[in-house]
Symmetry: C2
Subunit: 420 residues, 2 copies
């Protein structure tokens, strides 16, 4: 492994690992500071994860929710990008170890995010598909559409039903949005594409281990979401957990079985594996436990922000969601700039901007402060917020067109089975 560090610099070196919400926000916040910042990511693009389920359900293309990191960072003179797989951190030597050599830092921000957790269920890990990256979303899109093609030429009704049974595991926002997106794809679009199929043979099942959906939202909104999904012909089973999946039969923890070929796994995430290699205290989701300044205990030059950080507030850990990642990143960047300038770092005070989840056409739920919205207003709010947050004006424009198109024509233009 060779060292790829540029020659001696005047400014302290900041390395940010991860170009997601947290890493990108921190890079932007550090632009213009007297610091030499390098942002590392294994991909060359920033991914707008909240819309991944729309790629999986053929509503958007992968290009619509991704934006090249180099293009985003063009304007920031002191921020460079390098595409690299980070395989470890030499905390004592202050070096990040990558597939392209080691990179030294004076300050490090780990914004490595989360990955799918199958809770050690190996058969599920082998046969279900998560929803954490573009490969997941395209694999799901290909798989779902392929099931319909196979069903359309299948003579055996039992096998046809198995092909046409789609299970979403997990009743959080990702599970609810995926189940809703899938229901619209199936009953509004594919029903027109497959006149040879009887769509009464299709089963869409949402499994939730607890006894309500959307724990992050008030119970009344969760009940609204459940009613809306049922209207869209999604069967919801509470107190149901997946225990195994051999690609044709799903076994539940209570011993029941479902003949199905598809599990969309929205039941669990954990911090990216890099955190476990650091040898620092972590919570049960693998998140590094950080100080209120987001510093790693014993390593004041190392910060962790976003899904990979565990920080408690108001008696519980902050959730693994974009607003937490963004607020933590802004604080971590400010604290790095403060340390470099010889000032004291500040403590995190997370301000909850509210929670939103969309279910389908004109149907969403939102809790913002004391306000509760359900239906069209919440959906419009969801739409506008997601469009504003998307990086790149072109992406916003194309996504608006795609959504308008699908809304008015009951279409999903992107339903291609793409082999690569």
């Amino acid at each position: 492994m060779t060292s790829n560090n540029p020659p001696a610099r005047a400014n302290p070196a900041v390395v940010i690992v991860g170009g997601g919400f947290a890493g990108l926000q921190a890079a932007k916040a550090l632009s213009g500071e007297p610091l030499d910042v390098i942002l590392l990511d294994r991909n060359n693009y920033h991914l707008f994860q909240p819309l991944l389920y729309q790629v999986a359900t053929a509503g958007l293309g992968p290009e619509d929710i991704s934006y090249p990191l180099r293009a985003i960072l063009r304007g920031y003179g002191n921020v460079a990008f390098r595409m690299a797989d980070v395989c470890g951190v030499d905390l004592a030597g202050r070096r990040v170890l990558t597939d392209g050599g080691a990179i030294s830092y004076d300050y490090l921000l780990l914004a490595v995010g989360a990955e799918t957790s199958f809770f050690g269920l190996e058969s599920v890990a082998a046969n279900a598909v998560g929803l954490k990256n573009l490969a997941d979303a395209l694999t799901l899109r290909n798989h779902i559409l392929r099931m319909f093609e196979l069903a359309s030429r299948e003579q055996d009704p039992a096998i046809r039903r198995e092909l046409l049974t789609f299970v979403v595991a997990g009743g959080g926002a990702t599970g609810v949005e995926s189940a809703g997106g899938l229901a619209e794809l199936v009953h509004l679009v594919l029903a027109k594409d497959y006149p040879e199929l009887d769509f009464a043979e299709v089963s869409l099942i949402l499994l939730e281990g607890g006894d309500r959906l959307l724990l992050a939202l008030p119970a009344s909104l969760a009940a609204y979401a459940a009613r809306a999904l049922r209207k869209m012909r999604v069967e919801i089973r509470f107190r149901s957990r997946v225990a195994g999946f051999d690609s044709r039969t799903i076994t539940l923890a209570d011993g029941a079985a479902i003949a199905a070929r598809t599990i969309v796994w929205a039941a669990g995430v954990k911090a990216a594996a890099l955190i476990a290699t650091l040898g620092v205290p972590a919570d049960r989701l693998g998140r590094a436990i950080v100080a209120e300044t987001l510093q790693l205990p014993g390593h004041p030059e190392v910060f962790v922000a976003g899904d990979a950080a565990c920080r408690e507030q108001d008696g519980g850990p902050l959730p693994m969601i974009a607003p937490v990642a963004v607020q933590q990143a802004i604080l971590a960047a400010a604290n790095i700039a403060a340390l470099a300038a010889g000032r004291q770092p500040a403590a995190l005070v997370y301000k909850d901007p509210g929670t939103l989840a969309t279910i389908g056409r004109s149907t969403a739920v939102a809790a913002i402060g004391r306000w509760r919205f359900a239906g069209f207003t919440a959906w419009l709010l969801w739409l506008v917020i997601h469009l504003i947050r998307l990086v790149g004006f072109r992406n916003r424009f194309i996504v608006t067109i795609n959504w308008a198109w699908d809304y008015f024509f009951y279409e999903r233009a992107i339903r291609l089975i793409l082999r690569i």
Copy 2:
């Protein structure tokens, strides 16, 4: 293998193999006829192949130039689609053999198209990438962008030059369009993305075996194209043929060598492999030699149209281009309908609508009848014709936006390295 045929029907069964320009045109032409038509394709989408090089050079996404075949065929009551890999034809038993069972026909149209030909050069086949399908285009896009990422962290100038040398083999329309698209991606877009690279180290080389480009166009237009490419910093080498490529060194037929990691292979195509399995007379490109009615000699119920058919006119075989495919498909469909109605099939008279090739921004060449265009007029013509021919209003709309965007902002929004 089981038979998947529906129960006895009143109408003759027509099977069309291939959903490209020829197959899709024939399916549309047969709609409304007293025939039961099944269109088979290994993919679930129609691909607009003329714009594949734009996917490879990050100007368009794969979703923009593809359209679901089932969506296209929705309006045609007597035309069904089935996604299937066709592995053979039982000409005597009048059955098409697929991965989903055999399908019987009364009339068969083989519109199976073409695939990349490496002329038996195994090392080139293993390391170069053709441009015949979406997987090719995405592989190329990923590869080209990855070379820049690797170069940006490479210290050895010799290796850096090797990473930054891109060779396009073949000076026909695909080669010229790919070289032009690549030059614009590199010098207009990536030059802004990689401030750490010296773009004088980039080499773009177009290799042509003969001594001029664009044989399908008049010499004056070919010379214009060569001048335009050189202005875009593409080096053109005539009388140069690739003999081998071990992924780091390209060996030419005259013994010269080029240190490079990339060959975009636009030097040859041949008929799809299915034709060779039929045991019928074929030309040196593997195309089935057909009668003037496009019937297979000895099998009047079997037609071949498009790139997989060899039909001579005016002393030479018709070229493997979209206008030939479309005109042949219209005739083949009319002849199938005629035979089914007890009438005589008609003979093909191909009318050349002219030839167009684009080189880059505001730069194209066109020969239509006695007219010759070069520059902005030809480019506008190319733009309008390609937009009109794209299937799906949404695709036309999105492609227009992408092109306008790239034109005004010197951008390529889709430059993502996408792993799946």
